[in-house]
């Protein structure tokens, strides 16, 4: 029985901004699903607030709404589009939760929209802990002892029944936010109260800890005829106690015998059936007692998930695509297996390699948060590696992480044994590195007792250590002459660089010696069937085996280097660009070869390009592929910093780099060269200099004039960058372990206070330059551009200033001989234009600009890199937009309790949303709504700002007052506002006595919080206030500029309701199809 014909139009809900626990895996699954539905002839309507996704490309769905994913907006879309069905299982927890809300509010019923993929009952049964527990009991499966608490009283009562340690799991949250493990009552009360707040339903489950039990996941699919298959089994290296998103995981399961595995498989099917997921995929987690094999069910997600994306990449089986087809009525045996072409989708993939996923963490960006892993997810990205053995995959995984490791290396300064024990007992982001050290000094049995990590993994790691120790006893001459040993080291995943470190040699020398020994990787297929059938998947990994199975592509081909694991500052935006590069190449009839190591992405869907090499993005791995494939060109400017870091070495190795020369990229990044360039072009930049000592820094700052931006030259990514306002501040900066020396200079820039920051994305073919978009930031210069909101087109700049910015952009593009994309950051102060930074490569804002304007910049950039001309590519006339688009950043502060939420020069956002509407105010309001801030239309606004900001606080305060809001302020701010004629209720600061501002927040008396601070001292004072606002989910801002934007947005909103419009409609107005 094929697909349903009673359905014509299907609404798909995306997962919104990238946040911890919900990343681009849902773009991957959503994109696959939309493609699958379109392929079947359905009309697809999409809502997703995230412009950086491929799924929101206007060419994909029939109607694409980049709107906030909230019930009231979706209700409007449903009313307008009248879809027949809603597919809620592809947009993560966000889509599932909002779909439940839509169903419960009666909206689906009202418009006669059917939930497909998972019914409301099934979703609720899987998501509500209590119902789930009852369901498991019914089918005779065990779950850990537990109880539901809806209040702290419940928690205390349950603690008498459940033995410590107790795991706290909030219901209806992302990635277990607000959860944790409590070892005593006090800790329990603390964690549970956080969990109650985090839960959408004020509901937490207290659970008997199965700490250190073995943890497994099965990816299950079921069709409407009750055919069930397991796509992949996953075993967590980190046993129970660490969130699976933060665990190193391995596919397939390693330590289960067939009897045990089949028992788990039977249980997974029973769960699918009992929960009632009739069509689609689910993820089921199990824990196994390592002493006796007792099995308990941990949870089930009735939707595609991060693990299903991983499983798809690990096996080659496209779960989301198949799930979409099952949802519209197909059965598994009616869907062909794309990979073998001759078989069908109703089978279970078997693999003949080992897959290791390693999470990527960013604790260093959140000082004040503890590098500690528990049941609440903290990682911001992940990398996956494929090897013939676990050892090879683990090493590839570590070098894919891009954290300065060339493999599973030794830690530089090993701690003493007691500390080491503590570091492996308490899970943290570097635990496995410590564990490697521990294996050298502590018995395996003791390590097992401390960590619960299965001895199988410990043995495998021991084998790596043994080989490494053996290598260390040899001289380089001995090693390089021993081909067998060299081969073994490569098969164990040792990179050339890692071997170089062991033998104290540069990587290139190892490479040469290796090539001399004719040791080259071979490329094997990911084929779902362990070579049993001929496979047509163009999906490869490297390994050191004698077999040969793949030949280089014969046609004209270009290699695209991807961005590797997601991290703050480099995420889905760059993947978007890489995917567009592949699309562009295919449009031009050129074969696209993708190289990437991030399993969450669309770029690592083997369907995206003509060939996918799932490989680490290191010099060695990339050059191996290039030497094997001999491509006509390599694209390095789309994958963010990762491929750019390789660009110069690849150029040196004779690799044909397409587009802007890496030398130009270097020229723009080198401070001195760039200064010369600007002087030549007579363009301005803020006064700056480099200091080699503290004394020199103080002198320079004096000369340039405070405030200044200071940062160490040797730290990348805005880390340790600070704005200092006086010499005392600067002295403080040096005290915080920041030293300046001839080897470690400090860069000092004049800080342009209250300047407007502008981002420009441009595209050049070497002759013409097209200004893709000019974005005006909401937050002033000083807040990292990645963390600030911006408006396109600019809403306060005069036409003259815009013209000047365009002139300078074109000038720079010519001088740097840009072929492809370029991003420039300007600051405008007192009508003067300063250049802050130029990057002749794809920027984070490329997808936003492309979505906001309708011109696909990355795609066009690819075409000009291959020689096409802009004049032939761009539409002849593009009308000025009659709308505004606002990009807002989404920050992960709720994951890092204790970290102050203020914005600064260091980027900390994980994702972005776009608001689009007829005027700036409404577009901004939508961006806030999409980012999770529902701005109030009435009520009380709390204002507490630093002295510097006080004069500027008057304007937003006055607007709020005129709109009918009551202003509540702390004493200083309040007096200032009162003097300006604004009625204010004064409230105590935290240390001034009770009731204070925090009491007001807790009592629900504050609807919006405006709180700025600068300088270390005020930060400490107001941090607890902002923390409380965050905890209580009260809309807040930490900048005056955003406060003003909020005030204006609310004003617009009070005049007009929010309207919805698809991108396709917006573009029509501009004359773009």
């Amino acid at each position: 029985m094929p697909k349903r014909t009673d359905l014509k139009k299907i609404l798909v809900i995306g997962s919104g901004p990238i946040v911890i626990g919900q990343a681009c895996e849902f773009d991957y699954s959503g994109t696959q699903a939309i493609k699958a539905l379109k392929e079947e002839g359905y009309e697809v309507v999409l809502i997703n607030s995230n412009p950086a996704t491929i799924m929101t490309d206007p060419a994909l769905a029939d109607a694409t709404y980049i709107e906030p994913i909230v019930p009231e907006i979706i209700a409007k879309i449903i009313a307008q589009e009248k879809p027949d069905a809603l597919l809620p299982t592809l947009g993560g927890q966000t889509a599932l939760n909002v779909s439940v809300a839509l169903a419960e509010e009666g909206i689906l019923e009202k418009y006669n929209v059917e939930l497909i993929g998972a019914s409301l009952e099934a979703i609720k049964k899987a998501e509500s802990r209590e119902e789930f527990k009852a369901a498991m009991a019914k089918i005779g499966l065990k779950v850990p002892k537990s109880g539901i608490a809806r209040s702290l009283e419940d928690v205390i009562r349950l603690a008498e029944e459940i033995p410590f340690p107790i795991i706290v799991r909030p219901a209806f949250t992302l990635g277990g936010t607000g959860g944790g493990i409590a070892y005593n009552l006090e800790e329990l009360k603390h964690i549970a109260s956080q969990g109650l707040k985090a839960s959408l339903k004020q509901e937490v489950m207290l659970e008997e800890s199965v700490l250190h039990w073995k943890e497994f996941e099965l990816e299950v699919m079921r069709d409407k005829k009750d055919n069930c298959v397991i796509i992949c089994s996953i075993e967590n290296l980190d046993p129970m106690g660490v969130h699976t998103g933060d665990s190193i995981t391995v596919a397939p399961a390693q330590t289960l015998s067939d009897k045990e595995y089949q028992k788990m498989r039977d249980a997974a099917f029973a769960i699918m059936r009992e929960i009632g997921v009739e069509t689609g995929g689910s993820n089921v987690q199990f824990a196994i007692n390592p002493q006796n094999g007792e099995m308990v069910v941990i949870e089930m997600n009735p939707r595609v998930s991060r693990s299903s994306a991983l499983a798809s990449k690990a096996t080659g089986f496209p779960i989301a695509k198949i799930a979409a087809k099952l949802a519209v009525g197909y059965t598994l045996d009616e869907i062909p297996n794309d990979i073998t072409k001759e078989t069908v989708a109703s089978f279970e993939p078997t693999i003949d390699y080992c897959v290791v996923k390693i999470p990527r963490f960013t604790f260093e960006k959140f000082p004040g948060s503890k590098d500690e892993l528990n049941t609440a997810m903290k990682s911001v990205g992940e990398t996956m590696a494929i090897g013939r053995t676990f050892k090879e995959a683990l090493q590839k995984g570590f070098r894919s992480l891009e954290i300065g490791l060339a493999g599973f290396e030794d830690i530089e300064t090993p701690p003493d044994i007691e500390e080491l024990k503590s570091l492996i007992r308490n899970p943290n982001s570097k635990r496995l590195l410590y564990l490697k050290q521990a294996l050298k000094v502590i018995s395996q049995e003791e390590i097992y007792q401390l960590t619960g990590i299965d001895p199988w993994f410990l043995d495998q790691i021991q084998e790596l250590i043994d080989l490494e120790e053996k290598l260390k006893t040899l001289s380089w001459e001995e090693f390089k002459a021993n081909k067998e040993l060299f081969q073994q080291a490569k098969a164990f995943g040792f990179s050339d660089k890692q071997l170089g470190k062991i033998f104290n040699l540069p990587e290139k020398e190892v490479r040469l010696a290796r090539q001399k020994q004719e040791l080259k990787p071979t490329y094997y297929l990911v084929d779902t069937c362990a070579a049993e059938f001929e496979a047509y998947t163009p999906y490869f990994y490297s390994t050191y085996e004698p077999g040969k199975e793949v030949a280089p592509l014969k046609e004209k081909k270009v290699v695209i280097l991807g961005g590797g694991p997601n991290r703050i500052g480099q995420g889905i935006e760059f993947d978007y660009c890489c995917v567009h590069a592949a699309f562009a190449l295919q449009e031009m009839g050129v074969k696209a070869i993708m190289v990437n190591s991030n399993p969450e992405t669309v770029s690592t869907d083997y369907d995206t390009s003509d060939r996918l090499y799932f490989e680490p993005l290191t010099f060695e791995d990339v050059l191996n592929i290039i030497e094997f494939e001999q491509p006509d060109g390599v694209i390095v400017q789309f994958g963010g910093q990762t491929p750019l870091n390789l660009a110069l070495s690849l150029l040196e190795a004779g690799v044909p780099i397409l587009g802007t020369s890496p030398l130009s990229i270097d020229q723009a990044e080198d401070r001195e060269l760039f200064k010369q360039l600007l002087n030549k072009l007579k363009l301005k930049q803020p006064a700056n200099a480099t200091a080699f000592s503290k004394e020199e820094a103080l002198k320079i700052a004096e000369k340039i004039g405070y405030p200044v931006v200071v940062r160490p030259s040797y730290v990348l990514g805005g880390r340790a960058m600070e704005i200092v306002y006086d010499s005392e501040d600067l002295e403080n900066y040096f005290q915080q372990a920041i030293w300046a020396s001839p080897d470690h200079p400090i860069l000092i820039d004049k800080f342009l206070e209250n300047a407007i920051e502008i981002d420009v994305d441009a595209l050049s073919d070497g002759e013409d330059t097209y200004i893709g978009g000019i974005m005006e930031h909401i937050e002033e210069a000083g807040v990292h551009s990645g963390d600030s909101a911006c408006v396109l087109p600019p809403h306060t700049l005069s036409p003259e200033l815009i013209a000047e910015i365009e002139r300078q952009t074109k000038l720079l593009s010519q001088e740097l001989k840009v072929v492809g994309l370029m991003n420039i950051q300007f600051a405008v102060k007192d009508k003067e234009v300063f250049i802050l930074e130029v990057n002749p490569r794809a920027s984070r804002t490329v997808p936003f600009v492309s979505k906001a304007t309708g011109i696909p910049l990355a795609k066009l950039a690819t075409k000009v890199m291959l020689g096409q001309k802009l004049k032939d590519l761009l539409p002849s006339t593009i009308h000025k937009p009659n709308y505004f688009a606002v990009k807002e950043a989404v920050l992960p502060f709720n994951r890092f309790p204790g970290v102050d939420v203020i914005l600064g020069p260091e980027m900390r956002s994980t994702g972005e949303v776009m608001g689009i509407d007829a005027n700036v105010g409404l577009a901004y309001l939508k961006s806030q709504l999409a980012a999770g801030q529902n701005l109030p239309l009435k009520g009380n606004v709390f204002i507490s700002v630093n002295d510097k900001d006080k004069p500027m606080a008057v304007l937003p305060a006055r607007i709020f007052q005129e709109l009918g809001f009551k202003i509540i302020a702390t004493r200083g701010t309040g007096r200032f506002l009162q003097e300006a004629g604004i009625p204010v209720e004064i409230v105590n600061k935290v240390y001034e006595g009770r009731p204070n501002a925090i009491d007001y927040i807790k009592n629900g008396q504050i609807d919006l919080l405006i709180n700025t601070s600068s300088g270390k001292k005020t930060v400490q004072d107001s941090s607890s206030l902002r923390q409380t606002a965050l905890l209580y989910g009260i809309p807040y801002t930490t900048t005056i500029s955003a406060a003003k934007a909020m005030a204006l947005a609310i004003k617009e909103r009070l005049n007009a309701d929010l309207q919805i419009k698809s991108l396709q409609e917006y573009y029509k107005q501009r004359g773009i199809n």
Partner: protein
């Protein structure tokens, strides 16, 4: 210890023995199951074969007392990418190398098992020699070419029990003359062509009282036992040379409800007038989709066979199951007589439990007869 695996076509694979010295030949086949190596090793259907596992880490969970399909290892040699020497599992009683060494079965690791698998897929199953003693590829190839081909080998006789036995978690021999049914279920005679213990366990679970008899048992002997039904087991080798058994089967099916699995399925097919042919590289996997035509339901099955039956000309038979990978026959039943058989392994061991309804259906068939 260095070892060579040389195929009859001269292809050489280099590896290491993890069980000490030795030299042995056999037909080399690959199995794509990621778990279940202990069951594979002890499955009599693999008698005389060299089994190559496609999953690279084998030995992870060691071996235990329970997960065996017969009394000993049946394969001639075991080929893996990497043998795990220290097992990790609460049930493990010894390591894989220990197990193989104790039973003097050659284990080979360090083989590019994917390359070997692809070679067999492309060129078909073939004979091979493994040696740690003779490292001359040419000489090994010659030895491989001299091995008897699988086609025409009546291995079922070789592996079958010599004396009837009761199954109480292990065989308990009895004599034909003294045997009496104990009212433990429907009396069932199981022909042992290399029967897997999982089959016996499940037949018992589903309500049969089982007596296992040698492959050479005659129809008269069966009659004297007076069972309610007869079951033809799985087993190694080519069904065609088993002419005596086929003849006996022809008589049995006239008098008793009969079922067969794997080789038993092929024997039934031949007894009913079908034809047998050798598959290019056989089905040895835990993930093959089998469709039950009556319901349209798909079961993921355990498979282990190198031959297949063609019953397309026999219109008194009904195809009940097909393999969705290559549309080969997976099961049939007689349209008017109580005869049913499947090519795959509903008993799993190793593999998924999806097809276990076979035993219930067989029980019903017998009970309702």
């Amino acid at each position: 210890m260095k070892a060579l695996l040389v195929l009859e076509d001269g292809t050489v694979f280099e590896g290491k023995s993890f069980t000490g010295q030795g030299e042995i030949g056999g037909e080399v086949i690959f199995n794509t199951g990621m778990t279940g190596y202990q069951e594979v090793l002890t499955d009599p259907s693999y008698l005389g074969q060299i089994v190559c596992m496609t999953y690279p880490h084998i030995g992870n969970y060691g071996v235990n007392e329970e997960d065996v399909e017969s009394e000993k290892i049946q394969v001639n040699a075991f080929v893996v990418k990497e043998c795990v020497k220290k097992p990790s599992n609460w049930r493990a009683s010894k390591s894989l190398p220990q197990y193989l060494k104790e039973q003097k079965v050659l284990g080979l690791e360090g083989i590019d098992t994917r390359a070997l698998t692809r070679h067999i897929r492309i060129h078909g199953a073939m004979r091979a020699m493994i040696s740690t003693e003779d490292l001359n590829p040419k000489s090994l190839q010659e030895k491989a070419q001299k091995l008897p081909p699988m086609q025409g080998q009546a291995l079922a006789y070789k592996v079958s029990c010599k004396q009837p036995y009761l199954f109480e978690n292990k065989p308990v021999p009895v004599s034909f003359t003294q045997f009496k049914w104990q009212n433990k279920g429907l009396p069932l005679v199981v022909f042992d062509f290399g029967v897997k213990w999982s089959i016996l366990r499940l037949l018992q679970t589903y309500g049969f009282e089982v007596l296992v008899v040698p492959a050479t048992t005659t129809f008269e002997q069966v009659k004297q036992l007076n069972p309610k039904a007869v079951f033809l087991s799985n087993g190694p080798g080519d069904p065609e040379p088993l002419t005596d058994i086929i003849a006996t089967t022809q008589k049995i099916i006239e008098h008793y409800p009969t079922a067969g699995i794997c080789l038993g399925h092929q024997i039934l097919g031949l007894a009913l007038g079908g034809k047998c042919y050798k598959l290019k590289f056989g089905h040895h996997a835990l993930n093959h989709p089998v469709k039950e035509l009556a319901t349209g339901h798909i079961e993921i099955s355990s498979q282990n066979h190198g031959f297949c039956v063609d019953i397309s000309k026999l219109d008194f038979l009904e195809v009940t199951h097909i393999n969705l990978n290559d549309n080969t026959l997976e099961g049939f039943k007689h349209k008017s007589k109580p005869i049913m058989a499947v090519q795959h392994h509903p008993e799993a061991g190793p593999g998924p439990h999806d097809c276990q309804t076979f035993f219930a259906r067989f029980y019903d068939l017998v009970a309702n007869h």
